[in-house]
Symmetry: C2
Subunit: 213 residues, 2 copies
Amino acid sequence: MFYSNTVLKDHGAIVRSARAGETLFVQGEPCANLFELRRGIVRVIEFTAEGDRQIMGFFFPGDFLGLPLAKHHRFSAEAASDLLYVSHCSLSWLSGLVRSREDEERFLAAVCQEERTFMQRGLIMGRVGALARMAAFLVDVIPHLSGTDDVLDFAISQTDIASYLATSPETVCRSLRQLREMRIIAMPRKDRMILQDRELLMLVAEGSHCQQS
Amino acid sequence: MFYSNTVLKDHGAIVRSARAGETLFVQGEPCANLFELRRGIVRVIEFTAEGDRQIMGFFFPGDFLGLPLAKHHRFSAEAASDLLYVSHCSLSWLSGLVRSREDEERFLAAVCQEERTFMQRGLIMGRVGALARMAAFLVDVIPHLSGTDDVLDFAISQTDIASYLATSPETVCRSLRQLREMRIIAMPRKDRMILQDRELLMLVAEGSHCQQS
DNA sequence: CGAACGTTTGATCACGATCAAAATAGGTGG
DNA sequence: CCACCTATTTTGATCGTGATCAAACGTTCG
């Protein structure tokens, strides 16, 4: 069942929408089109041989997905929330020689951003302590979240965070609670987040074991 | 102190050598030249704010380093062993429009490989259990090792592996010992490795807890 | 030869995985 | 709108694994 809706069409680029949970593409299938995310969050999945499933990263409005670096996608992508995105035809990007100078720039920037996303996961998982990892994740993610004022749309489930951080959902929950008790963040609702103390958050992310009450 | 030696010069591409421990480039500095690794192993480092140091990945003969995706390097690179590499001038790559079709292909392949390296670390660190992570690391690395027959040159220090896996050197040592006792690998010398049971290694990497004596 | 570093082994202990179960939220149909 | 079912989040308890400290050993280099 696909809920995708074509909304607008403009010389090869089609604006589409997707519901949370929908699959954009799966690893191994040929790169047919390039996704430019406008609204919502996409999670990138990697399946290992044994059906083991890991979330490799999250993509946010402004990011590009499914860059045709190779002929086939090297990971799967799913909507973590309701989406709005632009679907470009991959073929016009694949033929590198016909690109304009500014397209080239945008292409490099997109590749750079995609690579940074994957590097960042390693960097975050490298931190010692579950709390530090959680904090580092938030430091990385929060700048990409939309929202009014300081109330951010936090449309990422804790189970997804757990998979991303390679930890258990219980630990994610406890880490978030700890951050709330430290008055570093607040979560008026499950999908809302208020950043109360950015400095302290970054300190915790760096591994400061300041255990003050 | 630089031990680099220019060996050969060929229209902008210079063959050079480097001693173990030498720095090829540091993060933040402008992308001056592109490295094509011929022999040896390079480790890629990321420094966080607090002087925290993590090894993000290893590069092997055939790989490209320092791709000009951005104006400045996003990580540092050091020789993990004695190197032989080709230094290309970055400028000829930066101007994308003057590239030939096959250069474009090679460029994409190089980018793809670099990104895969970083994704792989996340995938490996996502495994549960120190032994599974160690095994997954070996599965990933061994195909890139040079060596005669089955005796591979394993020029990666255990401390480097520990940093890469975000674990302690002690645990790395113990994991390797366990793999030796399982007759999965053998290490006649510290920098030599013999793969004895590829199937079992992959099984352990997938997290099989087969604890047979 | 001595100094510095990397590896090995043993000991203890804290952290986070895991199991179990309740509470909350979300979605669907009557 | 409420009842029902499912999935997600929350909390508590126990237990195993890997971090950490400490010390011996081996290697490499000046």
